[in-house]
Amino acid sequence: MSIIIYIAVMAGVTYLIRMIPFAAFRKQIKSRFIKSILYYLPYAVLAAMTVPAIFYSTGNLKSAVVGTVVAVVVAFFEKPLLIVALAAAASGLITDLII
């Protein structure tokens, strides 16, 4: 299948998700259960995307584990996104250079 079709579908779905409520929604969702699912979903999605894929993200398990631990610690202290991401990459790189 052509990559253009994938990209068109991807972009179309993403745009509609953003656009429909923004342009049309006027009422609040009433179901507390649905609201709760929507509240937890983003964090659950990010966790599932990160684990275990992050351990394969550097092509080397050692640097990936070090990078992950550093990212979790830096994130725990609520540093900005950019700092967390760079700390993960830098610590992984240092690990690869040393070992």
Binding site: S36, Y43, A75, A89
Partner: protein, 233 residues
């Protein structure tokens, strides 16, 4: 009107700088998924989202199905629907329907966070200004990453692969620190994801994310229904 645009423009600069480095990671990831620099740019210019693009690139690399692509984008990006809805309460009368159709494209986690934290209502000019630098940062970073992938020493390029995951960690760890329920959701989701990866290898990564996240979110919604003040993402 011009003043609002300028204010939005300058508020968008730090977001854009952050996006440049993170999308650099996406550019590298795209190249290692055999997606060319041009198509990596096209994905970034038409999607403007991190997690969805990573998952989308994985599906493209694995020649997945379109159903998988639609479902994955729907689940991963569903938060934008909530953000878009939340923002509608904040828009002034300058947001005509055509402007809403156009500016909806720029709803991202960070743009939403900045827009929603403004005092009072926001104008369409402000939101338009706010989107400019993040869009430029995101698209140019993607191209820089894709090109750098060929130029950088392998050891550096490899370690840049962790950038996006680092950003995801930076979003869910502070949230899990503040809320035990979010922590439980994160742990369940990660655990299911690991089980699927090693015990059900025939399930693609896209579906694995959907299954893991929905199981975790439904369990946590049943165990820890949110209180009114927790609703806003």
């Amino acid at each position: 009107m011009q003043k609002d645009f300028k204010k939005g423009f300058s508020d968008g600069i730090p977001i854009g700088l952050g996006y440049f480095s993170v999308s650099f990671g996406f550019g590298i990831l795209a190249m290692s998924s055999k997606i060319s620099a041009f198509f990596a740019w096209l994905i970034s210019a038409t999607n403007l989202t991190s997690a969805g693009q990573v998952a989308g690139a994985e599906i493209i690399a694995a020649s997945g199905t379109l159903a998988e692509m639609i479902l994955t984008q729907l689940v991963i990006n569903l938060r934008y629907s909530l953000m878009g809805f939340s923002l509608t309460q904040k828009l002034d009368s300058s947001f005509t329907t055509p402007k809403r159709l156009l500016l909806a494209f720029g709803i991202t986690d960070e743009i939403y966070a900045v827009a929603i934290s403004q005092k009072g209502k926001i104008t369409a000019s402000y939101m338009a200004g706010l989107i400019v630098i993040p869009f430029i940062g995101w698209t140019s970073g993607t191209v820089a990453g894709a090109l750098a992938n060929q130029l950088l020493p392998e050891i550096i390029a490899n370690n840049m692969g962790i950038l996006l995951y680092g950003m995801f960690i930076a979003i869910f760890i502070p949230a899990a620190k503040k809320s035990k329920a979010v922590l439980v959701a994160v742990i369940i989701s990660a655990a299911v994801s690991v089980v699927l990866k090693y015990f059900f290898p025939f399930i693609s990564s896209g579906f694995s994310v959907i299954i893991s996240a929905v199981i975790a979110a439904v369990i946590c919604a049943a165990l820890f229904p949110v209180k009114e003040e927790e609703e806003e993402l």
